[in-house]
């Protein structure tokens, strides 16, 4: 065999293995969620008989519907806040010269610290304003915590907007802020959508703040609900699998639907 043939075959083999590895754990969850207790303990990859009762049962064991709603509320609120803060901030880091650079470095440094460091102080802060056990409280914390990620992704997009375009706007009488809104924002829209998606995923998947700040089911998101299944001694694999899938399916659908924006935003924004 010639070298190019070996290479083509080798690269496809590597990618096939990678794709199987990427999908296997989640596909196994799907299989478990469709099996009864006996069918599961018999082992194997596929159900011998498909049954759906794990799904409604999972919604009874923990208040999954409430938690799913909480997850979405927290993630949407957090993303909105992140974007509102990140747009003016990314404009500053990209266009603000040396001060902008310094702001960028400080934001990245803040992102590097493990979030557990902020948990206790933030707990006391939320408690003092009565926002523990609150969807709003979690949305606020997650939203602010994700600002560095959004700025990191957006900064590159703002930098690629030609300065002349903005300057032309200023000559036409636009203020700096109006220029950001009417000239810069439309041009960085793909980056903004990608950054919003990434921040949505981060807030939706967040667990540490949620488990620390929300003790009551009324404010707990899905991630906390899933961890509660673990405390159960009589672990119901099928229900657990179904509940995990309830958390996974929306993000997978979003990721597949927006794949091009997501990939473009991540790879163009991040590689500098």
């Amino acid at each position: 065999m010639s070298a190019p043939v070996v290479r083509a075959f080798g690269s496809r083999a590597v990618l096939a293995v990678a794709a199987v590895l990427a999908l296997a754990p989640v596909l196994f969850l799907v299989s478990l969620s469709l099996r009864g207790v006996d069918d599961i303990s018999n082992g194997g990859w596929l159900p011998t008989r498909v049954r759906w009762d794990n799904w409604p049962a999972a919604f009874d064991t923990v208040p999954l519907a409430r938690m799913l709603a909480n997850s979405w509320l927290i993630a949407l609120g957090a993303t909105l806040l992140t974007v509102l803060v990140a747009v003016p901030t990314a404009y500053l880091t990209a266009r603000g010269g040396r001060r902008g650079q310094r702001l960028y470095s400080v934001l990245l440094a803040a992102y590097c610290a493990p979030p557990v460091i902020a948990v206790l102080p933030l707990y006391f802060l939320l408690k003092s304003v009565d926002l523990t056990n609150s969807v709003l409280g979690l949305a606020l914390v997650d939203g602010l915590a994700n600002v560095p990620v959004a700025v990191w992704l957006l900064d590159g997009f703002v930098r690629r907007v030609p300065r002349e375009l903005e300057e032309a706007g200023w000559v036409d009488g636009l203020s700096v802020v109006a220029g950001v809104r009417r000239v810069v924002l439309p041009l960085v829209l793909p980056g903004l959508v990608a950054a919003s998606l990434v921040c949505f995923f981060l807030a939706y998947n967040e667990f540490l703040f949620a488990v620390s700040f929300a003790q009551s089911p009324s404010a707990q998101p899905l991630t906390v609900g899933l961890s509660l299944f673990q405390g159960d001694r009589t672990v119901q694999f099928g229900q657990q699998a179904a509940a995990s899938l309830v958390a996974i399916v929306p993000v997978y659908l979003l990721a597949v639907a927006a794949q091009r924006l997501l990939i473009g935003g991540l790879s163009q924004g991040a590689v500098k």
Partner: protein, 285 residues
């Protein structure tokens, strides 16, 4: 440029970084409870308690080892996948999206999925263990096994980030460079090693630092998969701090002292990583 544009950034930084740092230091040097913070000055008592805590003492090293090994694993796997994608040619497409899915999976779900996959009863490999004569094998049963399994789970989730960013960097290598190497008679592997490699090395290093940062934050997986066990073999610092503050003992002051020490360790490791990155980048020029 109007200064008030900086207000959102400054407020955010105060809430997520400035305030936690100041209060964290205050908590570390005082006696506190979750109901009543900052009750009385404690000197270094909290640090002594942290140092004497068996679970915490080893957890800093465990976190650092976890971060370094997880980074190595994801970078190697991610670069391999990126090179394969590049060699295949064509668009990122559906296959690329499939490869990225682990990254958006909630870490709690990742833990549940892998735990069920590896379960000694009802797991996906029970048949394989039987065939190998190790029926009922539980990878999470031993300390080393549990630690390694968590490494694999974490790498499963975060390898896609390396794949994506390194693939983007590979696409950025000018085609003329590869053509010139081919004209000079260099084969694919030689071109990859001597021409493409140095071009993407800075990106690979930057991604490695990012992976290091992410791996230091590991928490969800530990809670769901091992709760720090067996023994303390998977008790990383983030988990131990959380347990000290919110589970069982509620020792707020000790937990605060532990977070300061954790911050110090993360800072040192990242500073070294940053230094290495800069060295390599400067050596290129």
């Amino acid at each position: 440029m109007p200064l008030w544009l900086a207000v959102p950034a400054v407020v955010s930084l105060l809430v997520i970084a400035g305030y936690p740092t100041v209060v964290g230091i205050a908590l570390a040097f005082t006696n506190s409870s979750l109901a009543r913070p900052l009750r009385s000055f404690a000197g270094f008592d909290n640090f002594v308690a942290a140092a004497e805590s068996v679970a915490f003492a080893g957890s800093l090293l465990r976190s650092a080892v976890f971060a370094v090994l997880a980074t190595a694993l994801s970078v190697v796997a991610g670069v391999a996948a990126a090179v394969a994608l590049d060699a295949r040619g064509g668009r990122f497409g559906l296959l690329g999206t499939v490869l990225l899915l682990p990254m958006v999976t909630p870490p709690v779900s990742v833990g549940v999925a892998w735990k069920l996959l590896l379960a000694p009863v009802g797991g996906a490999f029970t048949g394989l263990w039987d065939a190998l004569g190790i029926a009922g094998f539980n990878p999470l049963g031993s300390g080393v096994g549990a630690f390694s399994t968590l490494l694999v789970m974490h790498a499963w989730q975060w390898t896609p980030l390396v794949t994506l960013l390194v693939y983007a960097a590979l696409l950025g290598v000018p085609a003329e460079l590869r053509e010139a190497a081919a004209l000079d008679g260099a084969g694919w592997l030689r071109t990859l090693r001597s021409v493409v490699g140095p071009q993407v090395a800075p990106s690979v290093l930057a991604v490695a630092v990012l992976e290091l940062v992410i791996a230091f934050k590991v928490f969800d997986l530990i809670v769901v998969v091992t709760s720090g066990g067996p023994g303390v073999s998977t008790t990383v610092a983030s988990f131990e701090v959380f347990r000290t503050a919110f589970r069982g003992s509620f020792e707020v002051g000790t937990a605060a002292a532990e977070t300061l020490l954790l911050g110090l360790v993360v800072g040192v490791v990242l500073a070294v990583a940053g230094l290495v990155t800069r060295r390599v980048r400067d050596a290129d020029r």
